[in-house]
Amino acid sequence: MARYLISRTLQILLTLFAFICIVYFIVNAQPGDISNVYAMNPELPPDARERLQNQFGLNEPLWKQFLVYVRNVFTGSFGVSFSFYPRTVADVIAERLPRTVALFFTATVFSFYLGFLLGKIIAWRRGGWTEYATTIGGVTLYTVFTPWFALMMIWLFAFKAGWFPIGKFLDPVLWRDAPIEANTLFGRMMLTALALSIVVFVVFVITTRLRIAGARLIQLGSIVASVAVMLGAWRLTGHGHLAWDIVKHMVLPVLTLTLISFAGTMLLTRNSMLETMREDFVLAARAKGLPEKAVRDKHVARNALLPVVTSLVFSLAFAVDGGVIIESVFSWPGMGQTLVSAAVAEDLPLAVGAFVFVGIFVLLAHLAVDVIYVFLDPRIRY
């Protein structure tokens, strides 16, 4: 297991290197001299231009420029952003990365759960109108023109119904005299969520392993209890209302992202279920006298999960792309929105920096999926 993880991490690092090379190639392979774009940007004061030229080694030969570039990537210095001058690219990214991670992670968990659940059901009821309706609905959501769909969500839930804010990360009026930095607070919120999921996970593992009666009840109880404790703790800090503001801003983007991506998992689960249902061990499970629900959940769905998780790897890049669009429509100031606005404003250092981080993010998600897969499939031992 440890060896597998190490070798996988090495592979990922290698891929990352190749990725960075490709980015460099893309940036340099275009007509005209890239150094002009970097150095001659009119928004830059002369002294900054000087520094930039040194930092990127723009006066050096090409191979040295490449080495400098690689060093810069691995030390996280992507130079100075044009549009956020004088902030560095690294600084901008450090502020925005957590927001994207939170958005993406929540939406992925929701959409995977929803997709798997629905996929299971439509596979079991093949041929009925439920299946056609769900399939067509799901496919439509999956292939919907995302900006328009996001817009419709805003229009419906924020503009007309007024349930949620129209966009952005927080409400500036509320935060004008806030005693705490938004990012610090957001960091704490994420820590809380992490602690909560660890507690719930541990309870689940223990109750399943022990095979005690009433495991369901204990699980449910523990969730309710820990959520209550968490809410109480936040109340006591006095920042509860500020945290709530951020949560409120998060709901609509997460919902939209979930809706546009769950169908991928759903359709895949369906196909995978249909293929698994033909296996002999499913017949054997029925012959053993297991009720249909147990056959479906314990045997068919459990085995059908494997290919679904495998292809989660493929869909990660897609999900990140979806996130980019959603962020920019909702003006959620994360990596995606940064990438788009930097590209539109031709803020090259920031665009490249954001893109590299989006790439790293996808790679890490891959690694996570690989690890999960090892736990799911006993046939894989390293």
């Binding site: 891929t15 190749a18 990725f19 490709i22 980015v23 893309i26 940036v27 275009q30 007509p31 093949r126 041929g127 056609y132 399939t135 067509i136 496919v139 439509t140 999956y142 292939t143 919907v144 023109f145 995302t146 900006p147 328009w148 769909f149 817009l151 419709m152 805003i154 229009w155 503009f159 359709l267 196909n271 249909l274 293929e275 033909r278 790897v313 493929f314 990660l316 890049a317 897609f318 990140v320 792309d321 980019v324 669009i325 920019s328 995606g336 990438l339 788009v340 930097a342 590209a343 539109v344 031709e346 090259l348 665009a351 490249v352 893109f355 989006v358 790439g359 996808v362 790679l363 891959h366």
Partner: protein, 316 residues
Amino acid sequence: MAVDVAPQEAAPSIRKVRLTLAMRSLRENWSLFLGTRIGVIGLVIIIFYLVLALAHPILMNTVWEERVYDPVVGYAFDETRQPAPPSWNHLLGTDPLGRDVLSQLMHSARTEFLLGLLAAVVTVTIGTTVGAVAAYYGGIIDTILMRFADLMVMMPGISILIVLSALIGVEHFELALIIGILSGFGGASILLKSQALSVVVKPYIEAARAAGGGPLHIIFIHIVPNLLPLSFLYMMFTVTGAIFSEAILSFLGLLDVRMSWGLMIHTTEAAGYLLQVGAYWWLIFPASLSITLLCTSFYLVGRAMDEIVNPRLRRL
């Protein structure tokens, strides 16, 4: 070798038999396709847009006056205020710059089809070749091609297109090529390779080798024909991806294109009508719905083909 008369007689008759066989299998698949329902829905939508796309040049040459109805430089002189709501002259109204929305919609449909088709053909050509070659040769060739494919798959496609189009001017043709190359070397080759791998281990490949068949014979006579159904299916998904990407990029104003559905929405946004959904619906809905419908329809056709091509999904 002396050519005698007989082959000229036999060759056409064999060809005729082959044609008959091909038609028969096409008919069988067609009836299976009709049975899937979702495929039929998709096909109807595709045909609808195909008709729109084909009708545009005809209309422009007959009924529609060019200086009014040109999708890019036309102006609706008959309307006093732009954007104008739908009327008899302009069935879907005009955009903020006074251009006819229906004409724009129909004109773009053609571009979308061409873009999708080109991207899909490039993807599948690359994917099928790479997949077949990697599966047949294995070893180091396979490793290199597949590591590269892994890398391509991990690339967030839209993001890379965003960066690219910020760096260089991208038009429809280039966009189709880039999408084709990205997905051809990425997802398509991985998928088609795994399919090719299941073909390569079949005894008939060994039988062909025992008969004296070389790599080219085996790849193009045995492996590729068995990949074609899956390739064709993957084409459908690539069309969806290409149209979708184009729409996103032109919506963000990053493409150097003169007219497309994405650009129509971009224009609407730039003019500030985007959240006035009720009042200016004709600016928002036609283009957005068209993108969605066309993407969905190709995807549905792909799904339906999956039900036919994948024997493990077939009904008993």
